[in-house]
């Protein structure tokens, strides 16, 4: 029943879930990408300078001639040792290639996640407090409109604005010649380039989160114990922030894990449209070239981010909700 062992068991259980999920995704990613017709070397058959024997040798080099389960086991064994395989196109290990792009994707999604929650929480609480009043109705309409616009249209629209106005960079992550910039200048340059993609991500994730915050708060505000607290003369502000918000925290923290997933998948798309050097364009390029291990690695890495997001959510939940703590220590 001690606190330390309870949290250890709770974490271990969640970690086991995460490991199982990663395993499942790796199997599916591996098998689906190998089932897809063709492989990286098929295009070379049309090239008169490469002979059939050379092709067979190449395929044997990369072990593409072995049966699929054997390849999976060999690959999975290597992954456990930190080796994600070789990229056909770059002829270098997949790991470092992926990591260089993943950092950029994390920068984008991390910033967007922080911003979108900083907006969704206060706006949702405020909206729930004004439930049904003109301010709440107006906000609901605004989010509904935002919800209807597809991410892609939003991204293209903002790009058009940026091009027309010339106020913001329209793609990439750094300006030409940024290598010569000072450190502070470089940070500012990257931040400047982040404005558009982050804006698209925030705008696309905000409506859903805002609506969930509003609904959770509206429900929490109905709780009888809030009525009781109101009767004791406790201020509205304290009721909202110290009573209703913790009561609404449970669904919202679970939603946080989910929001990491939506932001990540949204980010892959936005990166392609705004030529942000992240996982998105890299994955697209790898899929088109059938660069097998890069595709699987990118999918696996995205899953890992998603799992990590949910893991953080679980931790927060454990910290925020004494009922979960009690439940965990009882087991």
């Amino acid at each position: 029943m001690s606190g330390a062992s309870a949290i250890t068991r709770f974490l271990l259980r969640r970690l086991a879930h995460a490991a199982f999920l990663l395993f499942g995704v790796s199997v599916l990613a591996f098998f689906f990408s190998t089932f897809a017709p063709g492989n990286y070397f098929d295009d070379m058959r049309l090239n008169p300078q490469i002979s059939a024997e050379q092709l067979t040798a190449l395929r044997a080099d990369y072990q593409l001639d072995r049966p699929m389960p054997v390849r999976y086991i060999r690959w999975a064994g290597a992954v456990l040792h930190g080796d994600l395989g070789l990229s056909f196109a770059y002829n270098t290990p997949v790991g470092p290639l992926l990591w260089a792009r993943a950092r950029n994707t994390l920068l984008l999604t991390g910033t967007a996640a922080v911003l979108v929650w900083m907006l969704a929480l206060p706006l949702g609480v405020w909206s729930a407090e004004k439930l049904g009043r003109p301010a709440d109705v107006a906000l609901s309409w605004a989010t509904a409109v935002l919800l209807i616009i597809p991410d892609l249209a939003l991204a293209l629209g903002l790009l058009v604005l940026a091009v027309r106005s010339g106020w913001l960079p329209t793609g990439g992550m750094v300006s030409v010649g940024s290598d010569g910039f000072s450190a502070a200048h470089r940070v500012r340059d990257v931040a400047w380039h982040m404005v558009l993609p982050v804006a698209v991500l925030v705008a696309s994730a905000l409506p859903v989160l805002l609506r969930h915050v509003r609904a959770a708060m509206a429900e929490a505000l109905q709780a009888p114990f809030l009525r009781a607290a109101e009767g004791q003369g406790i201020s509205r502000r304290r009721l909202l922030l110290r009573y209703a918000l913790p009561a609404a925290a449970h669904p919202l923290i679970a939603l946080f894990g989910f929001s990491v997933g939506t932001l990540l998948s949204g980010s892959l798309l936005v990166e392609v449209v705004m030529s942000w050097p992240g996982l998105g364009p890299f994955l697209l390029e790898a899929i088109l070239a059938r660069d097998l291990y890069v595709v699987i690695g990118a999918v696996l890495l995205s899953t890992l981010f998603l799992v990590a997001g949910n893991f953080v959510a679980d931790l927060l939940l454990y910290w925020a909700d004494p009922r979960i703590r009690a439940e965990a220590s009882r087991r």
């Binding site: 709780a223 009888p224 114990f225 009525r227 009781a228 607290a229 109101e230 009767g231 004791q232 003369g233 406790i234 201020s235 304290r238 009573y243 913790p246 009561a247 909700d321 004494p322 009922r323 009690a326």
Partner: protein, 263 residues
Amino acid sequence: MEPVIRVENLVKRLAGRGLGRRVKAFTAVDSVSFSILPRATLALVGESGSGKSTLALCLAGLERVTSGRIWFEGRDLAALAEKELRAVRPRLQLVFQDPASSLNPWWTVGEIVAEPLLVNGRTAKREGHARAALVLEQVGLAAEYLERRAQDLSGGQRQRVAIARALILEPKLLILDEVLSALDCSIQAQIANLLVEIQRAYGLAYLFVTHDLRMAAHLADEIAVMSGGKIVEQGVTQDILRNPRRFETQSLLAASRVEPEAM
């Protein structure tokens, strides 16, 4: 003697609300008048839907009244703004029917009981918790309960916590809204006796809202019978029990199988 609270012609109409169509407005409380003297208990008895709980919420300032006056400490609560009302609330506390839902499930008993004191006054945290321990002891809960959470307590213990939370502000009037009905029979008697003790110790006035005439008879000096939003019969407890004039009173009497001679 000056009454603690005097209610004059209180009316609460619930606005008709519905999607697309107008629903007729419903008068939940219809021209109700009564007063309660210090240290006295008035039982408000009625079937469910008779408007007694709405009336309790109006008195506690949790529902705005449609018309009428609520005199308390020389002021008309019905006319006060929300901010002024908050200053009055410590002296007029409401205890709810279901202690399971009226206590914050995220907090410990100590936090729940000390909260009104910490928020309303300029009490230091340490002193607040000391006072909470004291009040909890008065309602029969030892100091070991301070760290427990409401969800780990029994129904009777929870209701004791709810009563302690109301008492810590040293109110003049306690509105008890069906506080016994969610409890088992044996626990009901315990809490009822506790209420009598506390009334003596604190010199409180009670408004005891219930559907159970037997309990009302046990606790109250006066009984007011409510039906359809109106008080249809009101008088000293003994008189009401011995000589119920109205059909509503007689049926409530029959429902609680009370023997007038035994009173």
